[in-house]
Symmetry: C2
Subunit: 82 residues, 2 copies
């Protein structure tokens, strides 16, 4: 499965609990899309969040985030890593 | 040490070898700044790259990337992760 990094904005002042809940919302709906969200990082000052996932394609990743209530159009397939 | 995610643009058509060399350039100069680059992901289509690091502050991360020849101003401290 390809790997994806996606970027969210607007999480200003979000807490660890907020991120945990958002991540659990992804996990709860991801199976239908054969996506798995592995990890997420949050900067509560800028409100940026980054999610690392695997899945069949970018659109599937977007649908999971959308169903989980935090849509983003900024999803990058990252086939190269080090 | 705080954790940081930074974002680069302009790596269109970059290869795995290009990313490996860029990462090694970071590793070669990071010690002076007490920074460590742990991981990087690349989307050669959009040219976006994401780097995960630890270090004393955002400015130290920027200085390492700058010395390594691939400066970016887009560095986020990510104290919350899941």
């Amino acid at each position: 499965m390809p790997t994806f990094m996606d970027v969210h904005t607007g999480f200003v002042n979000a807490t660890a609990e907020d991120l945990r809940k958002a991540h659990e919302a992804d996990l709860a709906v991801e199976a239908d899309e054969m996506v798995h969200f592995e990890k997420a990082w949050l900067d509560p000052i800028s409100g940026k969040a980054f999610c690392l996932s695997t899945g069949p394609d970018k659109e599937a990743v977007m649908r999971v985030h959308s169903k989980a209530g935090h849509a983003t159009s900024e999803v990058y397939e990252v086939p190269i890593e080090v």
